[in-house]
């Protein structure tokens, strides 16, 4: 062993926790400030905003966006993209609804959603690593395939009315806080520990920052890419369960309106579209900002039809801010 400069065990680990959220303090503070700003504006504009019920409602909305966006964050950190997250949610929710409605255990329904989500994610991963398709193309095709399967399965119908115990996952409260918010906290914690405090998480950042350098540093790139697409699928499955429990109904169009908000949440959260930079905590803040915007539109009686337009604008603004913040890619002419 000629060249090992220090042995891992010889060094005492200092404060480990601070590391989880370290590094991007200023950027996160900026986002918190933005949340406070939008919140204050809404509080001034509408009396209903600061009611406990409404604040919890915002958090519940944010949790749903976040659950989808968390998986997407991993994929984007790793230098990929996943356009299929919302369609994956739809199919997973529809299948789970079918299972539960047929009288089987809700646990089986949950398992179905998670399995469906992960399987679809694995197919994305295979298309990217094995067929070497550009990620946006592979996941775009997957979007329509999953959407098509969901349409077919539902046959234009709705499935609704689930056992109260299952619905509690979406609508229930514990100690006055909605259950999905706890779920958001758990996912935030686990995902943050995963990307910040595991070797695999470090490798995901490395691949996203420079895939060729990562490969030439001996990182098993394809396996890591497979993993992030599968995790993204799994998160779609989890989000599907929460969404299903909350609205107590499944239909084949349920996930689609969440795609743009989820992407926007990741980008507003400071994760770079070009990979290798960003955090899950940022995504939570991004999700809260989007939930605030959507909530504010409701409170101010702006018709729901405006939502795609506003989210589209927010998305483009977020991309451009990312561009300015990270320095644009070099290109002559």
């Amino acid at each position: 062993m000629p060249n090992n400069p220090v042995s891992a065990t010889a060094v005492r680990s200092p404060q480990h926790w601070r590391h989880l959220f370290a590094g991007d303090g200023a950027e996160l503070a900026l986002r918190v400030a933005l949340i406070v700003l939008i919140g204050s504006a809404l509080a001034l504009a509408s009396d209903a905003f600061l009611s406990t019920a409404n604040v919890l409602n915002v958090l519940r909305q944010a949790s749903l966006i976040f659950l989808l966006a968390a998986g997407l964050t991993l994929v984007i950190l790793c230098g990929g993209f996943d356009l299929s997250v919302a369609a994956n949610l739809t199919l997973s929710a529809c299948l789970a609804a079918g299972v539960i409605k047929s009288g089987l255990s809700p646990w089986l329904g949950i398992a179905t959603a998670l399995a469906c989500g992960t399987a679809a994610g694995a197919l994305n991963g295979l298309a990217v690593t094995l067929l070497r398709l550009p990620p946006f193309l592979a996941t775009y095709a997957m979007l329509w395939i999953l959407q098509g399967l969901a349409f077919h399965y539902m046959g234009g119908q709705e499935i609704f009315g689930f056992p109260p115990a299952f619905r509690a996952l979406g609508t229930g409260f514990a100690f006055g806080v909605p259950v999905p918010v706890y779920l958001m906290a758990v996912v935030l914690f686990v995902a943050t520990v995963f990307v910040r405090s595991t070797n695999v998480g470090q490798e995901i950042y490395a691949i996203g920052a420079n895939p060729e350098a990562a490969r030439l540093s001996g990182i098993p790139m394809r396996r890591r890419q497979m993993l992030v697409y599968m995790l993204s699928g799994l998160m779609s499955g989890i989000a599907a369960v929460v969404f299903l429990a909350r609205v107590n109904a499944a239909d084949s169009g349920m996930g689609e309106p969440l795609l743009l908000p989820a992407i926007a949440a990741v980008l507003i959260g400071g994760t770079s579209l070009f990979g290798g930079v960003g955090s899950v905590l940022g995504t939570v803040l991004g999700a809260i900002i989007l939930a605030l915007v959507i909530n504010g539109m409701n409170l101010l009686d702006i018709r729901a039809q405006w939502q795609p337009l506003v989210v589209g604008v927010v998305l483009l603004v977020a991309v451009m801010v990312d561009l300015v913040a990270r320095g644009r890619r070099e290109r002559i002419g």
Binding site: M142, Q147, L260, P308, G312, V313, L316, G333
Partner: protein
């Protein structure tokens, strides 16, 4: 020749044998009508994909154009000014997409995803989510017009094909589409304003969407804010099936036309067999996969020889 030709021929043969009513005069005419709007979206999409781009907003922009046209007609304006309004909206979106892709070097799929949301939202806002009808008979009779035995929509689609062909092969614009996808630096070194041509590619797409709204609106004599969303999938699928490459600035308009024909035949045959639209999407996805795998196998064999 792209792998799509034998596959498409097999498909037609299969449909002729197995699908009752496929070869009827009525159905063949129907096929032409179904293909025409898709062809109009797929022609500029070919150029966009050749330039290493993508336009996910095409369907949403087409819907919006149709809504704008219908609102203008319903508001008592003439067909010409309605068309002008529609084309202006389409062109505006094309220019915006192109500017963000070309000048800011943003990834096309995210840019056009954002403009997809904006176009969809705008269409919903204008219509309050409802269909627009009461357009009078002008546009419907135009749609039903026969010119030299060809239905008006088919004629417009063929004209778009011809126009795109001329643009691609007989103008500097077309030459530079190849260059932007294949070796953009070479174009810059040759002193051409590559950025402007890059924007023009997307602008052309918007412009054609504006015209295609004429067919979409005429077909139903009404407009619906989200009716064409998803049509960009068929257009992208047709281009990919036709053998246009995402990476090297290689493209074939004829391939795209074959792709459009294949998708139209597939959808029509499945319709006649009573298989719903959702599974048709899945089958198109499967077809793309098949073509890509065949393409990869052929290419890797060629690389081994080299």
């Amino acid at each position: 020749m792209p792998a799509i030709l034998p596959i498409g021929l097999l498909l037609v043969a299969g449909a002729l044998v197995a699908v009752h009513g496929f070869a009827s005069t009525r159905n063949v005419a129907n096929l032409g009508l179904q293909a025409s709007i898709l062809l109009m979206l797929a022609m500029p999409m070919t150029l966009i994909i050749m330039s290493e781009g993508l336009d996910l907003s095409a369907g949403a922009v087409l819907s919006l154009c149709s809504v704008v046209m219908a609102e203008a007609l319903a508001g008592g304006h003439g067909l010409a000014s309605a068309l002008a309004a529609s084309v202006a909206v389409g062109l505006g979106f094309g220019l915006a997409n192109g500017a963000m892709v070309s000048l800011l070097a943003l990834p096309p799929f995210v840019v056009t995803l954002g403009t997809l949301g904006i176009a969809e939202g705008a269409a919903l806002v204008v219509t309050e989510g409802n269909a627009v009808s009461g357009l009078g008979s002008g546009i419907a009779s135009l749609y039903a017009l026969d010119v030299f035995g060809l239905p008006f929509p088919v004629l417009v689609a063929l004209a778009t094909w011809l126009l795109t062909y001329v643009l691609l092969h007989y103008t500097r614009f077309g030459t530079y589409v190849f260059a932007i996808g294949g070796n953009r630096d070479a174009l810059v070194l040759a002193g051409a304003p590559a950025w402007a041509y890059h924007i023009a590619i997307y602008a052309f797409g918007g412009l054609v969407s504006g015209v295609a709204a004429l067919l979409l609106t005429g077909r139903m004599n009404a407009a619906h804010p989200t009716v064409a969303i998803g049509m960009e999938f068929d257009a992208i699928a047709a281009v990919v099936l036709g053998g246009t490459s995402f990476e090297r600035g290689d493209g074939r308009l004829l391939g795209t036309v074959l792709g459009v024909a294949t998708i139209t035949v597939l959808r029509n045959a499945l319709d006649l067999l009573g298989i719903e639209s959702s599974l048709q999407v899945v089958s198109i996805g499967g077809l793309i996969l098949l073509v890509i795998v065949i393409d990869r196998l052929r290419r890797s064999r060629r690389e081994q020889v080299a």
